[in-house]
Amino acid sequence: MNAPILKLFGLVLVLFAALAGMTSYNSVINAEEYRDNALNKRPQIEQAQIKRGVIRARDGSLLARSVKDEDGLYERRYSDRARRFSHVLGYDYALGIGRAGLERERNDALVGEENEVTSIVDDLRGERRVGDNVVTNLDPRAQQVALNALAGRRGSVVAIEPATGKVRVMASTPGYDPNALRRPANYSRLSRAPNSPLFNRATQAGYAPGSTMKVVTAAAALDSGKFTPQSTVSGRSPIIVSGVPLKNFSDRQFGAIPLTTALTNSVNTVWAQVAERLGRDRIAEYMERFGFGTDPPMDYPDQQMFASGVYDLKRNKLIPANSRQVDIGRVAIGQERLRVTPLQMAMVAATVANGGVRMAPHITSRIVDIDGRVVERIEPDDSERVMSAESAGQLTQMMSDVVREGTGTAAALEGIEVAGKTGTAELNIARRINQPWFIGFAPRSSPKVAIAVTLENVIGGQGGVVAAPIAKQVMQELLR
């Protein structure tokens, strides 16, 4: 009977080899995939066992910190001050509703994600892993000024430092208390609320830009060499653009006027003609250079950013601006199916302010470890020349005229020269529903702040009347 016993042992060997094989598959070979499985909450639980780093504003004030709950897990608490920054900051309730905003984008740093070797060394030294702290460029006082000025209306203010791309203000109203999201029920309630309080209008909302788009058109015109601020174009109204009559605001008539005057008075027919003479390809190229068509290169989750550009509204898909189906004359004055975010328009203003060089906007200033050593400093980068310094200088002069004597006088600051452009997108002419805009920067000679302001669905509101005063207040605070 010994031969079959040996064979039986052989069978047991095979069975146990299968067990070892399956264990290897689960624990090593396919482990990565299992850890990434959406049903697997273990990685989040592990991260909740780490004391997550704090997030601070530019002035050092505390925005987010972690406290230990009764289960020994860390949970996020947001300071009163953080309520001003609810959208840009986001939230970290990974075991509940998930993560969003800067909390999501900087998660690796906040949980102290390090390379394998350092974590093993730390393990052996018995050191508990702690997260690094994140210091932002956000300015709580200017943010509060922006929120006060928006005064509960649906809208957004974005302010950027032109030379560095530092995001100083990113306001979106209405907001919410991030602490409330600890309870998933609150999250589902807020996500169904009519005013979409969870929606970051600064980065996610696609609005019609109105005449602020003329800054992009003017940049393309001046940089082409075919136009100077003194080039004259007829401003009569209406003219036929793409087979449809186009009127000036209030159907105002102009003769042959220089481009400077056409920007100061925001003459639609002039800029539509300029765009048609430049051609769709050139307008599309400058839009792309300013950053249209892609998510802004900001340290913020892609899922929460909207790429500005011309949209097929039915399918909610970007279409190339130089496509034959696009009415380029109307794109040039901010009409057509153009949709832009406040962040994108702030980037346009900042690029002109920075002598034609576009800087990548960034919310984070630096990442600091628990002992105060700087782990990473977010330097100004991704700079890209959009137009020549000369063109930018000419455009700055033209935009200064807008604030000095044109539609944007309400943004003027005492003793500081402001450059800007207003916009009023008419969403429903019959019911006078407008989307007022202001974009600009100051001081004119060495700009410290570039800004974009917009409000949703204001009855009869015009950019120069509604948006420009908000920009003024925020710039005043930032230039103090």
Binding site: M1, A20, T23, N37, N40, D71
Partner: protein, 432 residues
């Protein structure tokens, strides 16, 4: 060196392992080395020495490695349980004492000649079957009738019944193995046992089927029936008998699958554990097996270390359920990695090797079959639970012998060990 001296030396690593294991858990937990770990080590060493003395006095020639190997598993299980819940480890330690009492009693009762068991084979078989029917008096757990409540203690009769059934089969097949082979007929290329003797075999098959339908648990039925087939194969050396048996078992399992929703949902969960519907199903879904695999995925090659596996948060429902019983292998893989898990499998494999070696050394058919059967059911039990936890086969709840928490399992497996040592003592003495 005599067999018993070798055993004594082999016990030293087991005790060291236990002391080191407790020390590791203490350091993890309190960042300090408590002398309690040494106390635990000392108590465990004393228990091992007591068992060793019993063996030295009663079975001087028995296999010297079986007991130390079991001691390694037992101490390993204690450390894991201590890490999960101190109270469980304390209770388990008490069960070890009870198990050792049964171990000693079995050896003392049968030390003259274990073959007296043959005389009581029908009583033993009947007792085994009655034991298996016992849980039908109570309520099913997870759809299966596996445990029986006696006051505060929940008793799992299948653990003891597997031994009774092996004893019966070993004895029965010793009588009939010759006629089964000689009377065999070939039909359609397959060798069938003679009809006259097919009856008792069919009766065993019928019993296994009955068990399948009575306890409604595929895993333990597979364990019984696998043990039976292993014995038939070794007794007759006819692979065709095994194939016929497997075919019949598959038929029965298919029938049960058709009528019992629990089995069907287990198979569904096995096939697609990460289906969100199955995962979130309140009862009978794939939550357990999915968590078991997620837990193993955390382990990697070297594991996360004692106390690092995520099992439960506060008073919330466990993230990995039944971590101390069915899923202890997942916790081992999580905390000690692939390396630790394979080491455990290797220890089982060494026990199986010693068991089969004992069977090969034995001179009489009953002893050969008994040792083979006991070893086979032990190996199958490990295969059924580890295979279930690792998603090699559909999950069914049996314990991981000597490691999982559970009194009946400890007691039954110590009796199993005692029987193996009894066979071994006689075989090695006669061989010498």
């Amino acid at each position: 060196m005599s067999a018993r001296n070798r055993e004594l030396f082999a016990l030293i690593p087991a005790t060291l392992l236990l002391t080191a294991g407790f020390a590791a858990v203490f350091i993890q937990r309190e960042n300090l080395l408590n002398d309690l770990s040494l106390t635990y080590g000392a108590i465990f060493l004393a228990l091992c020495l007591a068992a060793h003395l019993v063996l030295r006095l009663t079975l001087p020639d028995a296999d010297p490695y079986l007991f130390p190997l079991v001691a390694v598993l037992a101490c390993f299980g204690l450390v894991m349980l201590y890490r999960l819940d101190e109270e469980l480890a304390r209770e388990q330690a008490q069960w070890f004492v009870v198990g050792l009492v049964f171990f000693t009693a079995t050896i003392v009762a049968l030390r003259r000649d274990h073959r007296v068991l043959e005389r009581y084979r029908y009583v033993i078989a009947l007792g085994g079957i009655l034991l298996l029917l016992l849980p039908r008096l109570g309520n099913p757990v997870n759809g299966a009738y596996l445990s029986f409540d006696m006051g505060p203690i929940s008793f799992q009769p299948a653990e003891l019944a597997k031994i009774a059934i092996v004893i019966f089969l070993a004895s029965y097949l010793r009588d009939t193995r010759q006629v089964l082979v000689i009377g065999a007929r070939r039909f359609a290329g397959i060798t069938f046992p003679p009809l006259k003797h097919l009856g008792p075999l069919l009766a065993v098959w019928g019993t296994a089927m009955l068990l399948l339908f009575v306890i409604q648990d595929l895993g333990s039925s597979l364990m019984f029936f696998g043990g039976f087939l292993a014995l038939v194969y070794v007794a007759t050396n006819r692979i065709s008998f095994v194939l016929i048996g497997l075919g019949l078992f598959a038929l029965g399992a298919r029938l049960l699958y058709a009528i019992r929703p629990t089995i069907e949902s287990r198979v569904e969960a096995w096939l697609d554990p990460f289906d969100p519907d199955l995962f979130n199903r309140e009862v009978g879904g794939s939550y357990q097996i999915a968590q078991s695999i997620f837990s193993q995925a955390d382990g990697g090659f070297f594991g996360q270390g004692f106390g690092q596996a995520i099992i439960q948060l506060g008073d919330n429902p466990a993230i990995l359920p039944a971590a101390h019983t069915d899923f202890i292998y997942a916790v081992i893989t999580d905390e000690l990695g692939l390396l630790g898990a394979v080491a455990v499998l290797l220890v089982y494999l060494l026990i199986v090797e010693r068991g089969f070696k004992t069977a090969m050394l034995a001179t009489d058919s009953f002893s050969k079959l008994l040792a083979t059967g006991l070893t086979a059911v032990l190996a199958l039990q490990v295969f059924v639970i580890v295979g279930g936890v690792t998603k090699l086969i559909p999950l069914t709840g049996v314990t991981l012998p000597f490691i999982s928490y559970g009194g009946s399992s400890i007691v039954a497996n110590f009796i199993l060990l005692a029987l193996l040592l009894l066979v071994s003592d006689r075989a090695r003495r006669e061989a010498a």
